[in-house]
Amino acid sequence: MKKTLKKLAKNPRLAISGGILLLVVIISLVATFIAPYDPIEINSRAVLQPADSTYIMGTDQFGRDIYSRLLYGARPSLVTALGSTFISLLIGSILGMIAGKYRGALEQFIMRLMDIVISFPPILLAMVVVGFIGGGVRNLIIIIGIVYIPTFARLAYSSTIQVSEMEYFTAARCIGVKDFRVITRYILPNILSPLIVQASLTFAAAILLESGLSFLGLGVIPPTPSWGLMIGDARGYLFKAPMFAVWPSIAITATILSANVFGDALRDILDPRLRGL
C-alpha cells in the first residue's frame, strides 16, 4: 500500500493532472471569495466589453464579468460529474458483482438490461429525459449517473468472474465464508483498482456530457454560470467578441484532459497489464 502511494506521488503525469484537477476543485470552492464580480449580475452599460483592467477577460452579452463566471462555472460541472460518477460507480459495481457472483437467471437479467442501456448513445438518452423533465444539476446527476451504470456493471462483472476462478476464492467458499463477507473481503478489494481507474475516466466523460447538454441549453439552467452554457452563449457573438468563446473552451478542455490523463496514469500504475493501450 505504501509502495503504491510512493509510486503514485513520483509519477509526473499523475502529479500534474492531479494538481490541475485539485486547482479546479479549489477554485470552485473559493469562487465566492476570489471572483471580482457577481457572476449573474447584469450590467447593460458594459455589454461585450473587450478585456481591460476592469474586466480581465471582458464581459458577456449581458455585461456579466466573464472571469467571474468562469470561476463559478467550475461548480456545476464538478458537482454533476462527481455525483453522477458516484451513482454509476455504486450501482454499477453492485449490479456487476451480483451478476458475477450469483450467475444464472439474475446474471442474465442484469447484464441484458445493461446491454439495452448501452445501445443508446449516452447524449441521446440524456437529452430526451432532460428535455422532457427539465434540466438543472440534480436531474443531470441522476440521468448521467444512469447512463454510465453499464460501464461499471460490465467491468465489475468480468472482474468478479475472474476472481471467482481463483483458488483462494474457492478456498474461502469451502471453509464456509458467508456471501456478504465474500463480496466485501474477497471480491471487492481485488476489483477495486480497475473500478477506480474507470471512475476517473467516467468523471471526464460526465463533464463532457454535462457541458454538451448545457451547451445545447438542455443542462444547467441559466443564469447559473456553466462552461458549456457560456460557450453556447458565446457562439452568437463570435464576430464581436471572439475571446468570449475561447476562455470557457480552455477551461473545459483543460479539466477534461486532466481527468483523462489522471485516469490513464492511474491505470498504468494500478494495472500494468493494460499499459500502453
Binding site: F120, P121, V128, G131, G134, F215, L238
Partner: protein, 316 residues
C-alpha cells in the same frame, strides 16, 4: 459463416425490439402524467387540451394495446404524425437520414485517413518526436469537446481567416461546390475524437504485433523494414481496429447532435433538438429509433466484417 450471420441477425432483431420497447416505455417511466410531461410544466393546459393530446398519442388506450400498436406501426416505419405540422414523422426522417449519414461517413473517413498512418508512424518510431506528437494529439482529441472544436474552427477558419462558410446546408442538386464546402467544417470537427481514438488504437495494436516472434523472424530473415511493417504487421494490427471504428461510428451519431447544431446542418440531430424544444413527442421517438437502430446495425456490419477478415471468429 451462414449460421453465424443468421444468429447475428436474430440477435439484432431482438435488440431493435428491445430498443423499441425502451423508447415506448420512456414516457411512462418518467415521473408524472405522460400527457403533462409532453405538454411541459410551464403551460397550464385546459382539460380539453389534455384529453385531445391524450387521444392523439394513443395514451387513452390500455397500455398493452398502446404497446402492440407501437410495435406494429414501427415495423411499417409508421412513427405517427408530428404534433406540430401533422405530417407523418417518417417523411421528415427520411429526408434527413442521408444528411446525417453523409456527415458521419465524411468524419469517419477523415479520421481513418489521418488516424491510421499517424498511429503506424508513432508505433514504428517509438519514443521519438512523432510518437510524442501522436500521443499528445490523441489525448487532446479525446478530451476536447466536439462543440469546442467546432466553435474554435468556426472562429479561426470562418471568422478570422474567412476561408470557409461557417454554417448552413446547400442541396447537392443546387450547387455541388456549395454542398461540399459546407460539409468540410462540420466533418472535420466531428472527426477529431474518432481520429484520436483510431490513432491510439493503431499505435497500441501495432506495437503489440511488432513484439510478436514472427516479426522478429521476418526481420532476422533480412526483410526490409518497410515490408515487415506493411506486409507482415499491418493486417493483423488493423483487425481490432474494425471494432474501434464501429464503436466510433456509434459515438459519432451522438456527437453529431452537437455538431449539427453548431453548423445548422439540417440532419437528424437538429431535428431532435428542435423537436425536444417544441415537445413534439412522436418526432422525438422517431429520431431516437432511427439513430439507435443505426447504431445497432453498424455494430452488426462490423461483426460480420470481423468474421470475414478473421476466420477464427466464425467458429465461435
Amino acid at each position: 459463416m451462414l449460421r453465424y450471420i443468421v444468429i447475428r441477425l436474430v440477435l439484432v432483431v431482438l435488440q431493435v425490439f428491445l430498443v423499441a420497447t425502451v423508447v415506448f416505455s420512456l414516457l411512462h417511466l418518467l415521473p408524472g402524467d405522460p400527457v403533462l410531461i409532453v405538454l411541459g410544466s410551464e403551460s397550464n393546459p385546459s382539460p380539453e387540451v389534455v384529453a385531445s393530446v391524450r387521444a392523439r398519442l394513443g395514451l387513452d388506450q390500455p397500455i398493452h394495446i398502446q404497446y402492440t400498436r407501437w410495435l406494429q406501426d414501427i415495423v411499417r416505419l409508421d412513427f405517427g404524425e408530428s404534433m406540430v405540422n401533422n405530417q407523418p414523422v417518417w417523411d421528415e426522417l427520411s429526408k434527413r437520414i442521408p444528411r446525417t449519414f453523409e456527415l458521419v461517413l465524411a468524419a469517419i473517413f477523415i479520421a481513418i485517413l489521418f488516424g491510421i498512418p499517424l498511429g503506424i508512424l508513432a508505433a514504428t518510431r517509438r519514443n521519438g518526436f512523432l510518437d510524442w506528437f501522436s500521443t499528445t494529439f490523441s489525448s487532446l482529441g479525446i478530451s476536447t469537446p466536439v462543440y469546442v472544436i467546432g466553435t474554435l474552427l468556426v472562429l479561426l477558419l470562418g471568422v478570422e481567416l474567412k476561408l470557409l462558410p461557417i454554417s448552413g446546408y446547400t442541396d447537392l442538386g443546387k450547387s455541388v461546390s456549395g454542398h461540399y464546402l459546407r460539409l468540410i467544417l462540420p466533418a472535420i470537427s466531428l472527426s477529431f475524437s474518432p481520429m484520436a481514438t483510431i490513432t491510439r488504437m493503431t499505435r497500441s495494436s501495432m506495437l503489440e504485433v511488432l513484439n510478436q516472434p514472427y516479426i522478429t523472424t521476418a526481420r532476422a530473415k533480412g526483410l526490409m523494414e518497410k515490408i515487415v511493417i506493411f506486409r507482415h504487421a499491418l493486417r493483423p494490427a488493423l483487425i481490432p481496429l474494425l471494432t474501434t471504428i464501429g464503436l466510433q461510428m456509434g459515438s459519432l451519431l451522438g456527437g453529431s447532435v452537437l455538431v449539427e447544431t453548431i453548423f445548422n446542418w439540417p440532419g437528424l440531430s437538429t431535428l431532435l433538438v428542435m423537436s425536444i424544444g417544441r415537445r413534439d413527442y412522436p418526432m422525438v421517438q422517431g429520431v431516437i429509433m432511427v439513430i439507435t437502430s443505426s447504431f445497432v446495425l453498424i455494430n452488426l456490419i462490423v461483426d460480420l466484417l470481423y468474421g470475414v477478415v478473421d476466420p477464427r471468429i466464425r467458429r465461435a
